[in-house]
């Protein structure tokens, strides 16, 4: 059931990419409504797939890389449809759609079987830590797509519209930054409960700190040097590359305490 729903969602999003590509050249209100419908249906099928998994395991899907990608993708889709109410652009639709499809594709290569929670993961902190993580990284992901839109449309968009886009990116980064702070804090409190060490310079921990420092530098550069617009967008893209290293690169290359995810 869960797989069927995920396949439906995946097929919808793939169709979405094709419609998006078409809409880059020839955009009508009807086409926009179709795209909107596709996103909502994909979000619905992903939501039901996650609910089915929660019902089967009795817990939040957060104990493996497969499960994390699933809820991370769901968070991106949620934040995307909310952001889309404020800023609508075929390039934004396309970039977000491609990102979500790539994530689901990556998940399809990972083992999806449910496994019982190991003792270290049996804590209410797991849910708080993971929920804050998907909001943080989801916000950075949507900000990254918008930064891509900024760079793509910079030369053929009105200044007021660009300023509005820049402001939206900033707000998403702030949301991500606040939640990333909470991810690090909840992770540290939890680690102290489990191992007696709130910080061990484990690669995942360290890279989450690196991510935090990069976005902190973005926020400070924006305020101090008035880094807005293009420079700001480039920094958001660099930030998201660091996010991808933190989430996936570290798990694939560097061993550590987060080896299960």
């Amino acid at each position: 059931m869960e797989n069927h729903l995920l396949n439906i969602g995946f097929a919808l999003l793939l169709t979405g990419i094709m419609v998006n590509l078409y809409s880059l050249w020839w955009s009508t209100e009807r086409l926009q409504n179709i795209i909107k419908g596709i996103f909502w249906l994909a979000l619905l099928s992903l939501t039901v797939a996650i609910i089915v998994r929660i019902a089967a395991t009795g817990r939040l899907p957060s104990a493996s890389m497969y499960e994390f990608i699933l809820i991370f993708t769901w968070a991106i889709l949620c934040l995307f449809v909310i952001t889309r109410q404020k800023f609508n652009s075929p390039v934004f639709d396309l970039l977000s759609n491609i990102l979500v499809v790539l994530l689901l594709l990556a998940a399809s290569f990972l083992p999806s079987e449910t496994r019982p929670l190991m003792p270290a993961l049996q804590s209410a902190w797991l849910h708080i830590h993971v929920l804050t993580a998907i909001i943080a990284y989801g916000s950075f992901a949507v900000a990254f797509c918008l930064a891509g839109v900024y760079l793509f449309q910079e030369n053929n968009t009105a200044t007021a519209e660009l300023r509005r886009l820049d402001q939206l990116i900033y707000r998403l980064v702030v949301l991500g930054f606040v939640f990333l702070s909470l991810v690090i804090i909840t992770g540290a409190i939890w680690a102290e409960q489990v191992w007696g060490n709130w910080w061990t310079w484990d690669p995942k921990e360290t890279w989450s700190l690196v991510t935090w420092l990069v976005y902190a530098a973005y926020l400070h550069a924006r305020r101090t040097y008035n880094w807005k617009g293009r420079k700001s967008a480039v920094m958001v893209i660099v930030g998201f590359v660091v996010v991808l290293i933190t989430l996936f690169g570290v798990s694939l290359i560097l061993p550590g305490l987060h080896s299960y995810i």
């Binding site: 003792p119 402001q167 606040v178 910080w199 700190l209 990069v214 530098a217 400070h220």
Partner: protein, 339 residues
């Protein structure tokens, strides 16, 4: 020549936001480097892996224990100062709620770093292995006075025999006469008498008599750990515990993790090589390379981490300040039309 006092040069630099940004980026880059270079290895490891000059360079700069090296700590100290000074200056220039939030969140970061440094210098952490039914005097391990007993140890398993949870029933008596009794588990440490006790590890311990001629030695053998025989330094005995032995000759595998049909696989090792090997049931005695081995009994032992660390409270206060500061700093972000 106009030579300024170093403090007069450093101070304005630390109040500049530019310095803060450079420090943030520098610390981010260095922290990332620390995840790429393996930490805590001997110097010859780096020479073997990276070559003579890069390996020596790594150990010389302390990149092999980067997060503890003095200059990394100094950078953190500078960042602390810079954060505080910048936030204070901003508050002086524009005294509003957002600036106050900014000051609180930066103060939170400083409190976290100070707490962490305090822990680095003064916290005590000891790892102890205690058999079920046995006890330890904590003062013997450099901690404050106390008597810690492991009354019971239990592992719960899922149907697929993967561990669900580890429980240790502890009794702690402190020097003031306080008595604390609690069932601890992973994620549920015991917090009492200024100590925190964590369930960290476990395994089986086997009691065996080793007899040669008229000489009888009682040994407590931990699962998989070789112990030198007391009267012969070149010989070691290693015991493996098989909780649920399969009688059907399917090798030395266990049917389940439960001690339904326990056996001890005793191995006599000479200079790292196996000299003799024997499987014994409880109460059974066998000849192992000229020694008579009697398998007297078995019990689980638990590995406990015991911590004395006041820095953690400071760090958690820093977390609270940081969260509060962020909330105040960005409270209006989604209300206003433009920031």
């Amino acid at each position: 020549m106009n030579k300024q006092h170093p403090v007069k040069t450093i101070f304005p630099a630390l109040t500049s936001m530019q310095t803060a940004i450079y420090l943030l980026i520098l610390i981010a880059l260095l922290s990332a480097v620390g995840t790429i270079i393996p930490q805590g290895e001997e110097s010859r490891f780096y020479i073997q892996h990276y070559g003579q000059y890069p390996g020596t360079f790594i150990t010389l700069l302390g990149l092999n224990h980067l997060y503890q090296v003095w200059w990394y700590q100094v950078l953190m100290g500078f960042l602390c100062l810079s954060l505080l000074l910048c936030s204070y200056q901003r508050l002086r220039r524009t005294c509003n709620l957002a600036s106050t939030g900014s000051l609180i969140l930066h103060l939170g970061m400083v409190v976290i770093i100070v707490g962490a440094t305090w822990s680095l210098g003064y916290a005590k952490s000891v790892y102890l292995e205690i058999n079920e039914g046995e006890a330890a005097f904590l003062k013997d391990y450099g901690l404050k006075e106390g008597y810690l007993q492991v009354k019971k140890f239990k592992v719960d398993y899922y149907p697929d025999h993967s561990p669900r949870q580890y429980y240790a029933h502890l009794s702690l008596q402190d020097y003031k006469g306080g008595n604390y009794e609690e069932n601890i588990a992973v994620n549920h440490p015991l917090e009492a008498a200024g100590l925190k006790i964590y369930q960290t590890s476990w395994s089986w311990s086997m009691q065996a008599d080793v007899i040669q001629d008229e000489n009888k030695q009682q040994l407590s053998l931990q699962n998989g750990i070789a112990v030198p025989l007391p009267d012969n330094s070149s010989l070691e005995i290693k015991a493996l515990f098989i909780p649920d032995y399969q009688e059907d000759g399917m090798g030395l595998q266990t049917k389940s993790p439960y001690p339904n049909n326990p056996r001890m696989l005793a191995t006599l090792m000479k200079e790292g090589q196996i000299a003799d090997m024997m499987v014994l049931a409880p109460g059974e005695s066998q000849n192992l390379g000229g020694y008579t081995i009697v398998f007297q009994g078995f019990a689980p032992y638990t590995g406990l981490t015991i911590k004395e660390d006041r820095g953690v409270n400071m760090v958690f206060t820093g977390f609270a300040l940081l969260s509060l500061g962020l909330l105040i700093r960005y409270r209006n972000l989604y209300r206003r039309k433009a920031a």
